[in-house]
């Protein structure tokens, strides 16, 4: 009994949050899943049954392997567990095979690999200031951040309903960010390099990593006003960084639009916070201007932004606008009737909690939203009612069935662009971290 009481004692709120969301994920197992389910089953089959040389050539299914090799190895490792659930799913010719055991295995694999995400969130909480002395657990920044990350609406519906493996990938990213905050730069760079070879979409934020590490790690100290001190350049560090595979994207247009912020990162370094801001900007810019962007890519900006949101009121405001509109833009992903209550309830849960808890956290500063922003966010309610409940019963449904999607995209684009703009401004107007730092 004593052991049980220690386990369930006061400090275990993090464990309770993590276990709670894991159980919720188990309840989402019987929900609708998209073609991504078949995609991953196919990749399990390819990596299990074929020799490595054939992996990127196999084309029996339309869903060919289009992620980097580490992900292929990941599927290969999973396939060795899969064979104990249902051998048939590993047959390349079993297109669209989805027996109940296959479903169970796939869903559990996502839930299980989320463990890395949970660990990363735990590490991120250590980087968040506990400056505001609050005895109340629910008002601590650590608690709010844990809820915002562990119970993130977008991640829940994309990974555990729609079906993808973003959880552990974002875990890698958040962990590498946490390591940079903790000044463990080599680990951070290594983790990011590994991440790139799992899913190349993270190339979008590579410039932020590159410039930050070059500027703040390879140059070991700054001049008093924060500008570069050339004679502190450490060749050793540069080489060691280069030794960890370091790619810089020069391909898509998007990251170039984040270039001014990257210059800012070089000339006016603001420590890990500045790096994070730049990373988010890279992700957002690529989302807004990139090629063949998926709506799920908004998570690349939302999740890191959570770390900033519990630090400053201004960041919290930007975060809430970005998150609420970003999450709403994911609604068209789940278009089936049984999932409608789930997406509305979870969206309300996350939105109400995030807005209220951050408002409470920053209640001593000016209000988070002005009237324009409040109106805009409230407008999402009528928009949803119109798109899902009114429109299907009107005569326009037959002639112009794309109207709800169009309205959703346009409305959310306004919010995301606004958040992007505000974030950009905040990068330039914030004071630099201009003290000499001995690294």
């Amino acid at each position: 009994m004593a052991a049980l009481s220690v386990m369930t004692g006061g400090g275990s709120w993090f464990l309770a949050l993590a276990l709670g969301v894991t159980l919720l994920k188990c309840l989402l197992i019987p929900t609708y899943h998209s073609t991504d389910f078949e995609v991953h089953r196919n990749w399990l089959a390819i990596t299990h049954s074929l020799p490595i040389s054939q992996w990127y050539y196999e084309a029996t299914s339309e869903w060919t392997l289009d992620y980097p090799p580490f992900f292929a190895w990941f599927e290969y490792a999973l396939s060795h567990v899969a064979k104990y659930f249902d051998q048939e799913m590993l047959n390349v010719h079993n297109l669209n095979y989805s027996s109940s055991r296959t479903l169970l295995f796939q869903r559990f694999s996502v839930i299980f690999t989320d463990a890395l995400f949970v660990y990363a969130v735990h590490e991120c909480c250590k980087c968040v200031d506990g400056k505001k002395a609050c005895k109340e657990l629910t008002e601590k920044p650590k608690f709010i951040l844990s809820v915002l990350l562990l119970w993130n609406f977008g991640l829940l519906i994309v990974d555990h309903i729609h079906f993808q493996y973003n959880g552990f990938l974002f875990g890698l990213m958040l962990l590498s960010i946490a390591r940079l905050f903790q000044k463990r730069h080599m680990e951070g760079a290594f983790l990011f390099a590994v991440l790139l070879h799992f899913k190349h979409i993270y190339l979008y934020v590579a410039p932020a990593y590159g410039i930050y590490l070059l500027r703040s790690y390879c140059f070991t100290a700054n001049k008093p006003d924060g500008s570069i001190r050339w004679n502190t350049f450490s060749f050793v560090r540069l080489i060691s960084l280069g030794l960890t595979v370091f790619l810089v994207s020069a391909l898509s247009l998007g990251p170039f639009l984040a270039l001014p912020s990257i210059f800012c990162l070089w000339f006016k370094p603001q420590g890990p916070r500045g790096f994070l801001r730049c990373l988010i900007l890279c992700a957002l810019s690529s989302f807004m201007f990139g090629w063949h962007v998926h709506e799920k890519a908004i998570l690349l900006a939302i999740l890191p932004m959570s770390l900033l949101s519990v630090g400053k009121a201004g960041d919290a405001s930007i975060f809430l606008i970005l998150t609420t509109t970003g999450h709403y833009s994911l609604f068209p992903l789940l278009f089936t009737a049984p999932e409608l209550p789930i997406k509305i309830l979870l969206m309300l849960l996350f939105t109400i909690y995030s807005i209220s808890s951050l408002k409470t956290l920053f209640r001593k500063e000016k209000p988070l939203f002005n009237w324009m922003e409040t109106f805009y966010l409230l407008g999402l309610g009528p928009l949803e009612v119109f798109c899902e409940f009114v429109f299907p019963f009107t005569s326009w449904k037959l002639k112009y069935p794309f109207i709800p999607l169009l309205l959703t995209s346009v409305y959310c684009a306004v919010g995301i662009t606004y958040a992007w703009f505000k974030l950009y401004v905040s990068v330039f107007t914030d004071p630099p971290v201009g003290k000499t730092k001995k690294q």
């Binding site: 009994m1 004593a2 049980l4 009481s5 369930t8 004692g9 006061g10 275990s12 709120w13 309770a16 276990l19 709670g20 159980l23 919720l24 188990c26 309840l27 989402l28 197992i29 019987p30 929900t31 109340e136 657990l137 629910t138 009737a337 049984p338 209550p341 789930i342 309830l345 979870l346 309300l348 849960l349 109400i352 909690y353 807005i355 209220s356 808890s357």
Partner: protein, 507 residues
């Protein structure tokens, strides 16, 4: 209240869990010719919509009572009629007379599940939130945690949103009754409770405590003055509400009698199926159904039930208080469950509701009871293919209770409300200090047994000679646990008044 947003989050989470459970299978899914409770509810919509009221409870060519005849009071019938109107608007095939028998489709399932959610949202959930907000002497955070635990109680979720029933309506109405009567809004409270009884006759399990508490209040106010006025008003409210519900059936004597016959099927015997009460457990060794003649069974059951609940109810009448009322609800409902006639395993929910209400006072024992109550319905849940949601919701409930109330730290004599009882015993046996430790050990044994039995039922096949082995084991183990709880709750009630003063010093 401050932190309203956390309470909203808790309600939204409760709703989400409910809806995700409802994505699973329901009772009798794809099992012609009889199907299950889901088909029963659909059939009642069909009957109430297509036939005139006079024919609802009678056997006829259009209404075959053998195929899920109406056996709940009129309010259920009116509710079914209301749902039928909505069904008619969406798709008349769902309730077409005769041809809709056994109708199953994804759209229809969505509709049926939605009716449960809406009823829950309108009746049960607001009552729970109000109850938690009105709790005295605890912090806002604890109130919210309390609401979370009650809303996550697996038994009700699995039966209503899995198996398919509308228990949240009757339990919600009963809860409104409890709230009204505890806050001295006696007339509204009794009205709500009368509606609950008229929705499901099993709510009569709660009727004696209501009667005792209200009678006690009348006595306290003085039978010659205000008390008498209150008594008359209450009697008037009860009569009026019953008349209103039964009005269409009072036109002919035969009507009312037939309804009563459907509600109380005394011909059906002492028990059906495996249920965790005394009669079923004893009949493992002693075939009572064969030994005792039918009318003797009824009398024995009646007497035992009355004997076990009388002390608590009498005490409640003599010393009415909201706290005693809640505890008496528990013990009375539990007595009925254990000793009464024709009890179904789902009736344990009638005991679970009052236990949820005392969760904040004795968190450790309440959590234990609620876990056992869910476990006792395991055979039913497995039959409905609800293993995954059962395990998940039970774990979620356990984690919520354990972190909200730190239940494992609250196992001392005072916290178990056993202080005055132990003190009394120590007058005769000075060394009687080991009660909390015994209880802790019993808890561990109970949990281990439940986990083991669950694993066995799921993974193993029963031996051929004893095909019901696992169901019998589950109900017998649950029955033992329930007997222990009956004794425990009665001890708390009977030794209560001295406890009250001690508690104030501790907090």
């Amino acid at each position: 209240m401050e932190k309203w947003y956390l309470m909203t989050a808790v309600v939204l989470l409760g709703l989400t869990v409910r809806w995700t459970v409802s994505l699973n299978s329901y009772s009798g899914a794809g099992k012609p010719p009889m199907f299950g409770d889901y088909e029963a509810q659909r059939h009642w919509q069909e009957i109430t919509f297509n036939l005139p009221i006079k024919q609802w409870y009678f056997n006829s060519s259009d209404n075959n009572l053998q195929y899920w005849g109406l056996d709940y009071p009129p309010l259920t019938a009116y509710h079914s009629l209301l749902c039928a109107y909505v069904a008619q608007f969406i798709n008349p095939d769902w309730i077409a007379l005769h041809s809709s028998r056994g109708y199953e489709s994804q759209a229809h399932k969505l509709f049926m599940r939605a009716t449960v959610l809406i009823a829950d949202l309108l009746i049960y959930i607001p009552a729970v939130v109000l109850h938690c907000c009105c709790l005295k002497e605890i912090s806002t955070k604890k109130k919210i945690a309390n609401a979370l635990c009650i809303l996550l109680y697996p038994g009700l979720i699995l039966i209503d949103y899995g198996h398919f029933q509308y228990n949240s309506v009757s339990l919600g109405l009963a809860l409104w009754g409890v709230l009204g009567v505890s806050c001295d809004w006696d007339l509204l409270g009794s009205l709500a409770f009368c509606l609950a009884v008229n929705y499901k006759q099993m709510e009569l399990y709660h009727s004696l405590p209501f009667f005792g508490f209200l009678l006690g209040k009348c006595f306290k106010k003085g039978l010659k003055g205000k008390g008498f006025v209150l008594f008359v008003k209450l009697a008037g409210t009860v009569v009026a509400s019953f008349t209103l519900c039964w009005l269409p059936f009072f036109t002919e004597r035969a009507q009312a009698l037939q309804v009563l016959r459907r509600l109380f099927p005394v011909d059906r015997g002492l028990f059906e199926d495996k249920v965790a009460n005394i009669w079923c457990s004893v009949s493992v060794f002693l075939k009572i159904k064969d030994i005792l003649p039918h009318h003797v069974q009824i009398i024995v059951s009646f007497c035992l039930t009355l004997l076990s609940l009388l002390p608590a109810c009498v005490k409640l009448t003599l010393q009415p208080s909201p706290k005693a009322f809640r505890f008496t609800l528990v013990s009375c409902a539990l007595s009925f469950f254990l000793f009464s006639f024709q009890v179904h395993e789902k009736s344990i929910l009638l005991v679970s509701l009052p236990v949820c209400l005392v969760l904040s006072e004795i968190p450790f024992m309440s959590t234990w009871f609620l876990l056992v109550s869910t476990f006792s319905m395991l055979p039913l849940l497995l039959k409905d293919d609800l293993l995954m949601p059962s395990v998940v919701t039970t774990m979620a409930f356990f984690i919520a209770c354990a972190t909200s109330f730190s239940i494992f730290e609250k196992t001392s004599e005072e916290e178990l409300r056993l202080k005055s009882f132990s003190v009394s015993v120590r007058k005769h046996l000075p060394r009687f200090t080991f009660l909390p430790r015994i209880i802790q050990h019993l808890f561990i044994i109970s949990v281990i047994t439940m986990v083991l039995l669950t694993l066995m039922t799921v993974t193993l096949d029963p031996p051929q000679k004893l095909p019901d082995l696992f169901s019998v084991l589950v109900s017998s183990v649950s029955c033992l646990n329930f007997l222990f709880f009956l004794v425990y709750f009665n001890i708390i009630i009977m030794w209560d008044s001295k406890d009250g003063r001690n508690q104030k010093k501790i907090h």
